[in-house]
């Protein structure tokens, strides 16, 4: 709207340029929908930050992605299932299309699951996708956890994220168990009966706890609706919340990367999210979804119609939980039965409580504590954004294998009856094997892993110092023989020498220079002992001076060989080592390269 009425001081304003405030508070002006949203939310900053985020490339960094996508597949397929699933223990007589159950009395929960499987279009494949995705979710979470542990990615500043990851893993198995129990088939009902027994084995509060959870004696009518709320509401909400925190922390702390030329503790080498990772990760979601759908289409999982409806009297041979609860079941199977005690008329069922109640919190407690314990022992309080190659942390790698072997013994013990029937062995022998194996096998795994790591480290040193054995034997004019060693290219060499040398913490001498006793605190002595255990046989990387010495220690053949090869090495160490620094800051010298 305009007005033609002249105002008094118009003449003074004649040359003014009307002020135009910037459309958004930020310096950057966005157009279109993005600008509209940014004007109202200020999201451009955050989104820009994310889009420019650089991620390093390695297949093992995608294990966590597999877990994330499997979880999303679970959520999507789970929503479909809730449309028809009836979480009720109410009794019905089946009159659906599956003949071998015609006229059988069953619960609403079971009947609706059979209904989803046979009478809802696409119901069976969605059920199988949901179940396979759940199994793959926890498989991928575990594999992701192994990667993080064995590469030392849990070190400062990522301890919190490690703890969050452990909680996520623990919640995932609880979520899985709740889902496994919902259809109220013979197998899951047996599992719930076992779970009730586990609760009862808790000292003092056992029977109260079981009555509280089941709202009375087993099975009652409360457990299925309760588990349903837990399965579709409570745990998924916590899972998503913690998972978001997990991802946000990864973005804030940046992703770790494997060591290599040009990769330092202060940079991340890779592509930005937009456009490369957005496309890669987006595509990978569909690959994961597709792979799970393929499994679900081809391979049957949890055929609840074959198990039949739950009834407390029957049980089926081969009653096992899904694999992720297997370790607890296995612990139960190998705990000797005499581990039950009568104290003043009260029964302490440690034969059950140890495996069923204590194992899970103890296992996750140890896992969550590990980063803090390692940091205390090594005294390493620096930030680490470069990953360890597992061989360069032999004791950690060996401890990890020790833990995995223990877990494996528990898990395989849960399948003792299947192993017995499939391999024609005695279940008693298998159980005894696992009982002794629980104590012996992890030690063997620890020792073997450590030796293998140390050997690999020595082999790396050897390779750096003397190059690679070429298999070519050369006869000199004097009649001597030597094997030609070909030099490493500087890129490869860098990967073998980049890690930091370590040494056990030494206690200060017990007596100081004035002869006064200096009692080390007990804590310090323990720490020194543990540090010694960690680093006792340490194999440190080749230093530049060692490398130089290797070329001058009278091994003429290396000099000759170096001449022969000096022209075959074209790679210029300068270009590879823009950011390469070995201890004293000198340039790494390529073996068999220049100067000989």
């Amino acid at each position: 709207m305009t007005t033609s009425a002249a105002r008094p001081a118009d003449g003074l304003r004649a040359g003014d340029v009307p002020a135009s405030p910037p459309p958004s508070a930020g310096s950057k002006k966005l157009g279109g929908v993005a600008g509209w949203v940014d004007d109202r939310t200020g999201a451009a900053g955050g989104v820009g930050y994310l889009m420019k985020k650089v991620f390093p490339d390695h297949w093992s960094f995608m294990l966590g992605e597999i877990a994330m996508y499997s979880m999303i597949v679970c959520l999507l397929s789970g929503v479909f299932l809730t449309f028809w699933f009836v979480p009720s223990a109410g009794e019905v007589v089946y009159h659906g299309s599956y003949a071998p159950l015609q006229g059988v009395t069953m619960s609403d929960a079971y009947a609706s699951t059979v209904h989803i499987s046979f009478d809802i279009r696409g119901g069976l494949i969605i059920r199988q996708i949901h179940h396979w995705a759940a199994l793959m979710f926890i498989v991928a979470v575990s594999a992701h956890m192994f990667r993080v542990f064995f590469t030392g990615a849990f070190r400062k500043p990522r301890e919190i994220n490690w703890v969050i990851g452990c909680i996520l893993s623990m919640l995932a198995i609880v979520e899985g168990f709740a889902g496994y129990s919902l259809p109220d088939d013979l197998l899951s009902g047996t599992g719930l009966r076992a779970a009730e027994g586990f609760m009862q084995s808790a000292p003092i509060i056992g029977s109260y706890l079981a009555y509280f959870v089941f709202d009375g004696p087993f099975p009652g009518e409360a457990i299925i609706p309760r588990l349903y709320s837990v399965h579709v509401l409570l745990i998924p909400a916590i899972l998503i919340g913690l998972f978001t925190a997990h991802i946000v922390l990864v973005a804030l702390q940046k992703h770790t990367q494997f060591p290599g030329p040009g990769r330092t503790n202060d940079n991340v080498v890779g592509y930005p999210v937009m456009p490369v990772y957005a496309a890669k990760a987006g595509g990978f979601f569909f690959i994961v979804f597709g792979a799970i759908a393929l499994m679900a289409a081809l391979v049957q999982i949890n055929p609840i119609w074959a198990y039949g409806p739950y009834d407390p009297s029957p049980v089926t041979a081969g009653s096992q939980p899904d694999w992720y609860m297997g370790f607890a079941d296995g612990a139960l199977r190998i705990t000797p039965n005499w581990f039950e005690f009568d104290i003043l008329g009260f029964t302490l069922s440690l034969n059950i409580a140890l495996g069923a109640l204590l194992l899970i919190p103890v296992m996750y407690g140890v896992a969550m504590a590990y980063p803090f314990v390692e940091r205390w022992i090594t005294g390493d309080t620096r930030e680490h954004h470069l990953l360890d190659r597992p061989r360069n942390a032999p004791t950690r790698t060996a401890l990890g294998m020790w833990a995995l072997t223990t877990y494996g013994v528990f898990m395989f013990a849960a399948g003792n009856d299947i192993i017995a029937i499939k391999f024609g062995m005695s279940i008693n022998d298998i159980t005894h094997f696992f009982q002794f194996g629980l104590f012996i096998l992890p030690l063997i795994a620890f020792w073997a892993t450590r030796r293998i790591c140390l050997s690999l480290q020595r082999h790396d040193r050897e390779k750096v110092l003397h190059g690679r054995e070429s298999g070519t034997i050369i006869r000199t004019a004097q009649g001597g023989y030597f094997e030609r060693h070909s030099g490493l290219d500087p890129y490869e060499q860098w990967t073998l020498v980049q890690h930091e040398p370590v040494a056990p913490i030494e206690l200060e001498p017990a007596v100081d220079e004035n002869g006064v006793a200096r009692p080390a605190a007990r804590k310090d002595r323990l720490r020194a002992r543990l540090s010694h255990f960690y680093f006792r046989d340490v194999v440190n990387p080749v230093t530049p001076s060692e490398l130089a010495a290797a070329h001058h220690d009278g091994q003429q053949h290396e000099a000759i060989e170096a001449q022969a090869l000096s022209h075959s090495i074209e790679a210029d160490p300068e270009s590879a080592s823009g950011s390469m620094h070995v201890e004293e800051g000198s340039e790494p010298e390529p073996t068999g390269g220049h100067g000989h």
């Binding site: 297949w59 071998p100 006229g103 199994l135 498989v139 080498v269 055929p303 899904d322 005695s426």
Partner: protein, 269 residues
């Protein structure tokens, strides 16, 4: 009018028709009548033949007259006495190839090559063993004819009575010290009926007061239904329960996804 129609009022017609009807009925009866249990009609010749077979193939462990033998170490039995086990037990044990046992072991396994005798020889052996003392007879075809039995009811009976050892799908399960409940997938209805009546090794006897013949037929119907129906969900992974599913997830599922991850990871700088 043909010749036959012209003679329809012949005085002999009634007699001829009656004769034809009687012969036809007799033939039909002979063809369709349920055969009486063989144990009852075993003739002396069959028993004599059976005894010869028994002495040549079974007497090493079961004794020359089926009285059983011991190994000589403690109370260990080499072969149990057979008086009273009945013809059904022989038909089952020899018919499934469990007997003659290839080698001593914790359990007589189902013969890999099936029965080692012809059905005639098995019948002769059964007749001989039945002659040692009364026991369950070989069932007639009508006894294990499950075509009218209710498979759903059989499923309930199966879960209560059988699944704890043979597993929910009859794929078998482990028992103590190397013994096992075998898979039921390939067992014939006759043999299922027999083993329910006679028991064997770890398998208990389910006699007719325990499980009526109708219930037995229902169980057979259920076993045959679940083993002949197509698998709606795809590969059954042996119907062994969650262990094989977990193994599949770790071995094939994870390998497949890691394969894709490696492929994607290689497509980089």
């Amino acid at each position: 009018m043909n010749a036959l129609a012209a003679r329809r009022r012949h005085p002999a017609v009634l007699t001829v028709l009656l004769l034809v009807a009687l012969v036809a009925t007799g033939c039909a009866y002979a063809a369709f009548a349920p055969k009486p249990a063989q144990a009852a009609t075993a003739d002396a010749d069959q028993v004599a033949q059976g005894k010869k077979l028994f002495q040549a193939n079974c007497a090493t462990c079961h004794g020359l007259n089926g009285e059983g033998t011991k190994t000589g170490t403690g109370d260990q039995i080499a072969g149990p006495p057979l008086a009273g086990v009945g013809a059904a037990a022989v038909d089952f044990q020899v018919g499934t190839g469990r007997m003659p046992m290839a080698a001593p072991g914790v359990q007589a396994a189902q013969g890999v090559k099936g029965a080692q005798f012809t059905q005639t020889q098995i019948d002769q052996l059964a007749a001989y063993v039945a002659s040692l003392g009364p026991g369950p007879a070989i069932p007639a075809a009508a006894d294990y004819d499950y075509s009218n039995a209710d498979a759903a009811k059989g499923g309930e009976l199966f879960r209560v009575n059988c699944a704890m050892c043979h597993n929910f799908a009859g794929s078998g399960g482990a028992l103590t010290r190397g013994k096992y409940a075998p898979s039921l997938a390939t067992v014939s209805p006759k043999h299922i009926y027999e083993i329910l009546n006679t028991g064997s090794q770890a398998m208990p006897v389910f006699n007719d007061t325990n499980l009526s013949p109708d219930s037995k037929r229902e169980i057979i119907a259920y076993i045959k239904t679940i083993h002949t129906e197509p698998s709606p969900g795809g590969l059954k992974l042996g119907s062994m329960g969650p262990v094989s599913e977990g193994l599949f997830a770790w071995v094939f599922g994870l390998a497949l996804l890691i394969g894709f991850a490696v492929w994607l990871g290689n497509k980089s700088a």
